[in-house]
Symmetry: C2
Subunit: 215 residues, 2 copies
Amino acid sequence: MDEREISQAVIQRLPRYYRFLGDLLDNNVERISSSDLSKRMNVTASQIRQDLNNFGGFGQQGYGYNVKYLYTEIGKILGLDESHNFVIVGAGNLGQALANYAAFETSGFVLKGIFDVNPKLKDISIRGIKIHMMDELKDFIRDNNIEIAVLTVPKENAGEVAELLSDTDIKGIWNFAHIDLKLPDSIIVENVHLADSLMRLSYKIGHYAKGDLQK
Amino acid sequence: MDEREISQAVIQRLPRYYRFLGDLLDNNVERISSSDLSKRMNVTASQIRQDLNNFGGFGQQGYGYNVKYLYTEIGKILGLDESHNFVIVGAGNLGQALANYAAFETSGFVLKGIFDVNPKLKDISIRGIKIHMMDELKDFIRDNNIEIAVLTVPKENAGEVAELLSDTDIKGIWNFAHIDLKLPDSIIVENVHLADSLMRLSYKIGHYAKGDLQK
């Protein structure tokens, strides 16, 4: 399999497959047909067959897919078979909410530190993880093998933090600040746009009311 | 145009078009070619032409798309030309972070009230919006024409709140509690899976390191 051939659209869908397969595993389901998975995921069976064939998940006639195998393979492609140390930059409400969300750890994302400019927060801990001041960020990233910075600072401060991070070996930024960051090509940015899913909800409400949406 | 014919995949992409077109408008761009939009959005020009033709956004040869027209049309399809009253149920860190995010209002989503079980939070205001106790929720939804409930309670309490909401005229739930809710068909649920985008970041970091990802 040449992973380079996997399209962006498939990559976009992978985390969802991973979630559904994980739920099946939790329920001790060992195998599933593309048509069963299709019903659960609300995707056509032919799309599922096309997508999963990318990952050597060839379903066998009359047997279906091996859930654990597919889950493991997709996890590897997503890089979840290795652990990734991360920091949260910005200890406001959103930063604290994410710090409290322990489920990231089960996918291999390990929170090592939280950073803020507010001296009142210094040395306070969330789930045992200490809040540090921003002037320690660069050294902390270097000394703790940090791969990912979660950016939960206000929009106005995001540029400044991005500049600071540019000068580190950070590999990726999970950006909740609603602003385009200027960063070197070596740092990957994934922007979170929460409002997108609120707009989809609005679409569905409107079209359900008109009677032209199947739930 | 028969909106029923618009595929789920296109709907999924609409909020992103809406965002990009809104940015163009903010920058006083009146028209854009599919190839320019393609470069900005990192989507093929043929996909853009296919998608936008669904909404009467027929680009003219040598002219391109009328940005304002497309933005307005997509906004209508998403139901953003009308306002939607909403409440936040769960005033923890995530609930407070969302309550503080004023940008929802510019898309027509109007926060009317925040609800929690913690009596210490009673009558505290966030951005001028009062926190109420849960026993007022049902009457509040009825009296304030609330369409959407944002669910930011802990997983353990989500079922109970869903049951309460089932007995109201709420139209949609924006669900941040990582659990499948049992609800009548008339209530649309949009689940938020933040970890999906973290997994995509992890994928991109891994494949950028291998040299097989174009930024």
